[in-house]
Amino acid sequence: MGKIMLEVKDLKTKYVTRFHEDVYAVDGVSLTIEEGKSLGIAGESGCGKSTLALSLMGYYFAPLHYMSGDIIVDGTNISGMKPDDVRHKILGNEIAYIPQAAMNALNPTQKIIRFIEDVIHAHDPKASKKDIYDLAKQRFEVLGLPPEVLQKHAVELSGGMKQRTVIAISTILSPKVLIADEPSSALDVTSQKMVIKMMRELMEKGFIHSMIFITHELPLLYNVTDDIMVMYAGQIVERGTAREMVFDPIHPYSKGLMGSIIVPEAGTRDQKLTAIPGTPPNLKHPPAGCRFADRCKYATAECKGATVAMKDFDNGRSYRCRYSVDHLREVYADE
Amino acid sequence: MLNTIKQVFRSPRFLIGFIIFALMLLTVIFYPLFVKADPLAMVGNGNFFKPGTYVNVSETVTANRYTLNVDVSGAAKLDRQLNESDRSKMADWLIRFGGVDEAEIDTSDSVALVELWKNNYSPDADQPGLISTDKKSFERLDKRIDEILSSSGIIIATEEEDGTLTESETIDETSYVNINDLATTQTFVLGTDNFGRDVLTELVAATTTSLRIGLIAGLIATAIGLILGLIAGYLGGLVDDIITFITNLFTVIPSFVILILISYSVGQSARGVGLVAMIIGFTSWTWTTRSVRSQVISLRNRDHVNLSKLSGHSMFRIIFTDILPYIASYVVMALILQISSGILAEAQLSMLGLGPATTKTATLGLMMNWAMQYSAHLNGSWWAYFPVILTIALISFSLNLMNTGLDQVFNPQLRD
């Protein structure tokens, strides 16, 4: 087992709306990532995965609020640190972030190189402009980006180029953990491929030590990440390796999610595409029992009664369901 | 619809603006129902009478008299009758010639000052450095103080047939009349203006006229802007290019200048309230055109418009059913802004002497213009211009508040 880069224990955060209502978007998430590994987080829109991405960084501003839990980055617990310390010591340096809408992530009126200077100066005020330029140029070249981009403004770049520039900027300080929130969803297929290729290269070349990749597009995860976690209504419902999760999902929600995708591999071709009926619960008032019970076709009255904890099985897999693994596998086989 | 209106009224800015505006509107509507006097009647014979209640002097003499045991001979009377310059004059004399120490004198205590004066002043004292007129003026002051101190009252005399005056009665210091007993009192809440007209009544009439000017100008400007914006935005192509070009041109060429040129050139005699309003309307459409055009362009390729086009609906039908309802809120907001800028434009034109050339109606701008021409701002007649400024500012303030309130509801992005 490799060195643990990121460990999250029972993290809870909430949104406070304009009308002072609490929305429990991340409700007790635990996870670990080892060095050199990548973890995918999948789920429908509104399941809390983007909020999880923001929460993992340990720096909160309205409307997002921290409630409880620990975030340990390479042995340092950052949830006890002062917010300003987190921001200036950890963010950008240890944990890096790639936002969902990279289109607007760059200041439209600033040259890319000036922004890179600001990023590096925020962590190393003494860095000389020349060193920064050399580093940026070299990094851009390795990642297949033309160095001329450095002298341009964000408005002069195409969408795909902007996204790749954002990725290069986020990882310029070789962070321990990279959190990527739907980095390719808004792009065309060609740009998407380039972004994915770039993410792989970041890992291979050691520019990042571990990665969390958040998306609603499951096929992407299967291609990019080592492990996959499925999130539903602010909680993790299942975790396993990418392969296991696609070919042997246990939780009924994971099963439903996998049923709605096509994996171009033998053995999956005969599966019918299915959608999960219903909508996720309102997180202002999360249901008491299993949160998926209302949409689950295997649910009984008991499911809605008591909360379910994560259960381990096999080699390090876990899931959140009242039924046993064998029972679920049997039920699936009967269909 | 009802829901939208509810939402609009929940915006505090809109609500405050609405309340201010509604109060002004109600005043303008109801005031003339109670005060039937001609707003431009020249009541006062003279310039700028200050605010207050005016009572007929001869009537006070004949009215029922009451004796009140209120001290009028003492401090209150001295305070009232000896003004700042009298007191400093007295203090000056006392220090220079009366041998009184400066520290002893307190000009704010009139009783003590007068006592000092009576003890020390003598017209025959040696007054080096004073010319005789100065000496005389001190003598007059002394006499006046004596008059104030004595409480002999005022004697009313009647003229006999042979021309002799006979004392008929004396009015004591302690005589009072009840203001309710007087039949002819006149209250000017805001005084009178340079022509002796009641400012409050005039102001209400002027506000009515100015609101009407704003409304006419706003409606014209909005109508032109709406039509041009719709045509440019919906048709696009060459028509759009031409309209946009002209609009840009008139955005840069100051409308103020065009307003001046036209207003001057139509001639003094033709420039009535309606015409001024129309000129303002015809010179301020650019802003509305721009915003309507950009709204229509963003709507033009929406699905519901495309669907309508595919269904073969006519251009008018598409504009009326698929575009206008979506930009209605913007048009209303534009109208609100146009009304307030129309009122301001009239005021500024009038200040230049290019407002409605009329003596039959008052407008806020004309009131301001008259007040300035008669130097109300230099002679301290604040009531002649300050209420006018406040009214213009409040109309504009309330309309703009309503506008930002609407903006917050219809542009959630700006919500803060």
Binding site: D118, V119, A122 | G267, Q348, A393
Partner: protein, 334 residues
């Protein structure tokens, strides 16, 4: 660099074209109106309606110089030729002064008053607006309604209130004029200090009005920008707030510059009327006396001058904008 040259070339050409249109309007609008002042001049000149021989002479001179009895197109040509030479004839109301002479003596007062006042007001307004957006809280709660109200007070209203309070009641400043009425313009210290004394109140009233309007706009622009994605992204990269505020300020300011270009005409119009309150010897007061004196040549020259000033100010703003907004350059290179 090529992008910039193209941008400026286009802008300058466009403004020249606008100026031509403005000149044509300045010429043709009065002549199209029912109360056409020029034909009034002709009729007065021909029938000798005025008895003063001097005025009669001026009218005739003016009629001849501008060919008022000629066809419209000839008149325009004469008008243009004379205007380019700066010749607008002799003033009717201030005979025998040349109109160009009157304009020349008043235009600098207006420029020296309005340009700094609008610039200072604009800068202060933007700073306060950005500060209100950034600090929020009490600062914002107190300042916002104040700004909202001030921005709705007409410039002449602000001028009158300041005059009443500071000049008439407190006597801190003189009440009217551009310098002491007992002084003759010269290069003495006494004259300059008098000019400065007379400058304060008109300057302050324009500044205050400008601050009000600009602060509101800047505040909402800044709030909008503070919620922009790049602000969040910059925070998540550990960049300090000071830097981020710099980004926001710059980006929120750009639309404010465009806004300034759009509203500079209206602002100057308001400020001209405010001049009248102080009897400031600028174009505003000149315009008033021209209107009162039925002095058409002077009015026409004033309006033309105001137009040119507004156009120049606009062009200047757009040039600045081109320099500081890189998007302009980018757009030109496509």
């Amino acid at each position: 660099m090529k992008g910039f040259r193209k941008y400026y070339g286009q802008k300058i050409l466009w403004y020249i074209f606008t100026l031509i249109i403005a000149v044509i309007l300045n010429f043709i609008l009065p002549r199209l109106m029912p109360g056409d002042p020029t034909s009034a001049i002709v009729s007065k000149a021909v029938t000798g309606m005025t008895d003063a021989t001097a005025v009669q002479k001026v009218l005739e001179e003016y009629t001849a110089k501008f060919g008022l009895d000629q066809p419209m197109i000839v008149q325009f040509w004469e008008f243009l030729k004379n205007a380019i030479r700066g010749d607008f004839g002799v003033s009717f109301s201030q005979y025998p002064r040349e109109v160009s002479d009157i304009i020349a003596s008043s235009v600098w007062w207006t420029v020296a008053l309005q340009l700094p006042a609008i610039v200072v007001g604009w800068i202060l307004g933007n700073l306060l607006g950005a500060l209100a957006a950034y600090l929020r809280g009490v600062f914002d709660k107190v300042l916002l309604p104040v700004f909202l109200f001030i921005s709705n007070v007409p410039a002449f209203g602000m001028a009158t209130v300041l005059l009443t309070v500071f000049a008439v009641n407190l006597k801190w400043f003189p009440t009217s004029g551009g310098y002491g009425f007992d002084l003759i313009p010269n290069a003495s210290w006494e004259f300059y200090s008098s000019v400065l004394e007379h400058y304060c109140l008109p300057f302050l009233s324009i500044v205050l009005i400008t601050i009000g309007g600009q602060a509101i706009g800047m505040r909402s622009m800044s709030i909008y920008e503070l919620n922009a994605d790049y602000v969040k992204y910059s925070r998540f990269l550990g960049i300090k707030d000071g830097k981020i505020v710099g980004y926001v300020f710059r980006n929120a300011m750009l639309p404010q510059i465009t806004g300034l270009a759009m509203s500079i005409g209206t602002m100057m119009g308001g400020a001209l009327v405010a001049e009248i309150i102080f009897s400031y010897p600028g174009l505003g007061s000149t315009l008033l006396s021209a209107v009162t004196g039925q002095d058409y040549p002077l009015i026409s020259a004033c309006t033309l001058m105001i137009t040119i000033m507004v156009l120049l100010a606009n062009l200047f703003v757009e040039i600045i904008y081109g320099i500081i907004d890189p998007r302009i350059k980018a757009a030109q290179q496509d």
